[in-house]
């Protein structure tokens, strides 16, 4: 089976087009994910410190 039968190029083009259109928001979301991970780690560490496991 050809790849285009599973995932037509036009559909993929639309996805890529959407990614280009919302590039700014996508980048902001990516940075947001990273900051979320860092803050999550800080919260985990703070909880550990508060419960005396530090």
């Amino acid at each position: 089976m050809r790849c285009s039968a599973i995932w037509p190029a036009s559909k993929l083009d639309r996805v890529v087009e959407a990614i280009k259109t919302y590039e700014r928001w996508g980048l902001a979301a990516g940075v947001g994910v990273q900051l979320l991970v860092l803050f999550g780690m800080i919260i985990m560490g703070a909880r550990k410190a508060l419960t005396g496991e530090f």
Partner: protein, 292 residues
């Protein structure tokens, strides 16, 4: 129409062939010129190669800047209090990304913004490790690499830059390597114990790499790298399956040895693995299994 890239050697080959076709009457002078006009000239080709070289050089420079900052912070690390350390880490990550956004959308220098985002991704990984060190968060080490890669992949997809794809592929490869060959505790960051160590995310990573490779038709220089993610994912699937099997065998052996001593079975309950059972059946006794 945008001219298609062509290396110097391929261009020379095309020129020779066109000369032959023209001599044999296969193409006219106009047709030959029209064919040649579709591809970049030798000057454009050298300019493109020069810009790739500059890109690589600036990329390496960004990498060294990142390493230098790590060394500078690491050397003075003990001199800072914990809140200052956290502010430094979050500030370096946030500041680098803010610079990236300014360079990309205010100064309109897209290439240089890629280096800023690349540096930001390096700082993000460093910040994760240092925050874990500040709070003594002792977890399964490869999970940190997984989270690092998860943070890099959205930026790699949205920027579609070679540097970040390279970083994502490297991180995934190191993650797979540490999972396969390292012994970093027995924690399963898995799906209800059914799939070990986040390997359920591998098809997602592989699908993203495949879709991109398919879209780019592996025509440009970044294509093979993106498809490399697929290779990494396949390696990981094999490696994790073997690791899982060895874990099962280890548990099974412990249980079987306890049985052979006539005591109560102290091994953990064994979840089914056809190959493990087959190996036990072939080798017969647990002692021989231990030697295998």
């Amino acid at each position: 129409m945008e001219k298609r890239p062509l290396s110097q050697s391929l261009r020379q080959w095309l020129l020779d062939e066109i000369e032959l076709w023209r001599r044999d009457g296969l193409v006219t002078e106009e047709q030959a010129n029209a064919i040649l006009d579709r591809y970049e000239t030798s000057r454009q080709s050298s300019a493109r190669q020069q810009s790739i070289a500059i890109y690589v050089l600036v990329g390496v420079a960004a990498l060294f800047v990142g390493l230098a900052v790590f060394m500078l912070i690491g050397y003075n690390w003990d001199a800072f209090s914990n809140p200052i350390k956290l502010m430094l880490l979050l500030g370096s990550v946030g500041g680098t990304y803010a610079l990236g956004f300014v360079v990309r959308y205010v100064w309109n220098a897209k290439i240089f913004s890629e280096f800023a985002f690349f540096l930001g991704c390096l700082f993000y990984g460093g910040a994760m490790m240092l925050i874990a060190e500040i709070f003594h968060l002792q977890t399964h080490l490869p999970d940190g690499l997984w989270w690092w890669a998860v943070g890099v992949i959205p930026l790699a997809l949205f920027l579609d830059t070679l540097l970040l794809h390279l970083l994502a592929v490297t991180l995934l490869a190191v993650w797979v390597g540490t999972e396969m060959f390292g012994r970093f505790g027995e924690d399963d960051f898995g799906l209800f114990g059914l799939l070990p160590r986040a390997c359920f995310t591998l098809p997602i990573f592989a699908a993203l790499g495949l879709l991109w490779a398919y879209h780019k038709k592996i025509a440009d220089h970044g294509g093979p790298l993106r498809s490399a993610r697929w290779v990494v994912a396949r390696l990981a699937a094999v490696g994790l399956a073997r690791r899982r099997e060895s874990d099962l065998l280890h548990r099974q052996r412990r249980g079987a040895l306890a049985d052979s001593r006539g005591g109560p079975c102290r091994g953990e309950p064994i979840r089914g693995s056809l190959s493990a059972v087959r190996r036990l059946a072939v080798h017969g006794s647990p002692e021989r299994l231990e030697l295998s």
